[in-house]
């Protein structure tokens, strides 16, 4: 039961990544896990006896990122203003608990009463403090991944502050659609290009151009695979997915005139815009 509780705490605090890396919240916990509760201190740290240290709540914030940031990575500066427990003059009551007191009323007669017993602790007050945090958006990051900042969550006067976690939310992109590490996009070509071939450059997320050239017939719905032009893989940035381009063919909107039928349009070279203006050369 103890080990499950420990793992759960780690998972809650650090996400899946933390579980793999084996982050520990305090030295004592790991020792207790292996050796059990012997009651003697490691380094005289009184904290270890009480495994249930009260903790402030975690704050989970959605961090919206663009597909461009997923491709190239980015650093986001964030200012955190939070209340921090600081020492104040005097004492306060803390760790209040109910205890049973036994008092003797006479020979062989006892009375048990419940009493509220508190410890005395140094007084604390909450002061607002500010610091700048930097969140790194790693290339290839996926929806739902979290970047935790330990102790930047809500404070707790009697214990530890909770954590601040940024949860990645990838925004929809107007041109590219993400599926895993692959990118999908649609390109419209003219009827002439579909029949006779074409050449074009597609602007990628970081601005570099992907060159596409076709000299054969391209049917509507045809797909072109460009290996290595997808998104970088999160675990290994050197591996990239593919870019899949789906071609749509644009047919002329109006009927062809007699002149056009004679062949003006088919002879003139045209680009992506296609033969919609259909003026004979």
């Amino acid at each position: 039961v103890l080990s499950d509780e420990e793992k759960r705490k780690q998972y809650d605090a650090y996400g899946e990544e933390g579980l793999k890396d084996g982050h520990q919240s305090s030295h004592g916990d790991i020792f207790s896990h292996f050796f059990g509760d012997f009651g003697f201190m490691f380094g005289g740290n009184p904290r270890q006896q009480d495994r249930n240290i009260p903790r402030g709540s975690d704050i989970i914030v959605d961090l919206e990122v663009t597909l461009e940031e997923v491709y190239s990575g980015n650093f986001v500066e964030v200012v955190r203003n939070k209340p921090v427990a600081r020492q104040a003059p005097g004492k306060r009551k803390c760790n209040c608990r109910q205890e049973m007191r036994t008092t003797q009323l006479g020979p062989g007669r006892f009375q048990m009463t419940q009493e509220v017993v508190c410890d005395e602790c140094p007084n604390v007050k909450l002061v607002n403090e500010e610091r700048t945090l930097e969140v790194e958006i790693e290339p290839g990051v996926r929806d739902g991944m979290e970047y935790p900042f330990i102790g930047e969550g809500e404070p707790h006067v009697d214990g530890e502050p909770g954590d601040l976690r940024f949860r990645i939310k990838v925004l929809k992109h107007p041109v590219f659609e993400r599926r895993g590490d692959d990118l999908y996009t649609n390109v419209t070509i003219s009827l002439v290009e579909a029949l006779t071939g074409f050449e074009m450059d597609i602007a990628h997320l970081d601005g570099h151009k992907v060159h596409v050239a076709r000299d054969k017939i391209t049917k509507p719905g045809a797909k072109l695979w460009k290996k290595g032009e997808g998104l970088p893989n999160f675990d290994n940035n050197n591996i990239k997915g593919s870019l899949i381009i789906t071609f749509d063919v644009e047919f002329p909107k109006e009927q062809l005139t007699n002149d056009q039928r004679e062949g003006g349009c088919l002879k003139a070279p045209s680009r992506q815009r296609g033969c919609t203006d259909l003026s004979p050369e």
Binding site: S57, D58, I59, E64, V76, V79, R80, N81, P83, G153
Partner: protein
Amino acid sequence: VRPGLSAVLPSAGSGQQSVTGVSAADDGNSYWRVRGRTAAVCERGRPVRCGQQIRLTHLGTGRNLHSHRFASPLSGNQEVSAFGEAGEGDYLDDWTVVCSGTYWARDGEVRFQHASTEVFLSVTGEQYGRPIHGQKEVHGMAASSQNNYWKVMEGIFMQPSEVFKAEQYHAEL
């Protein structure tokens, strides 16, 4: 007073979750996220203009600060509640940021005017009894008063992007 979300008390008027004011600075239930108005996309880090419409989404529950023509339970002003799922509600979630100057300054005082009914987000001190004893009623009021003014305290602030910082410099010249 910090607006938080009371999970327990459904309001008598609408049955929606209540929004109450608490004084404690370490209440984790008091975080609200500033987002663009309904159906709009607001770029991360972009400063909020005075006069811009926004939504305030509660961090823990994903519900939006909401108001409608129902009476509030304690004072009889307009009820302010929490509405929606995962940040999506309806146009009654939209509030206009009222402030002087061009942008909502972090240390400035602002007012929130409900876009549809034009009341101001206010707290005048009425307190709830059990089970949320001591929490104050947050409601909408038509009249302007010092009870409508709000200031940002704790939070997580996204810095403006580099591009924007250059623009702002030009505006001030």
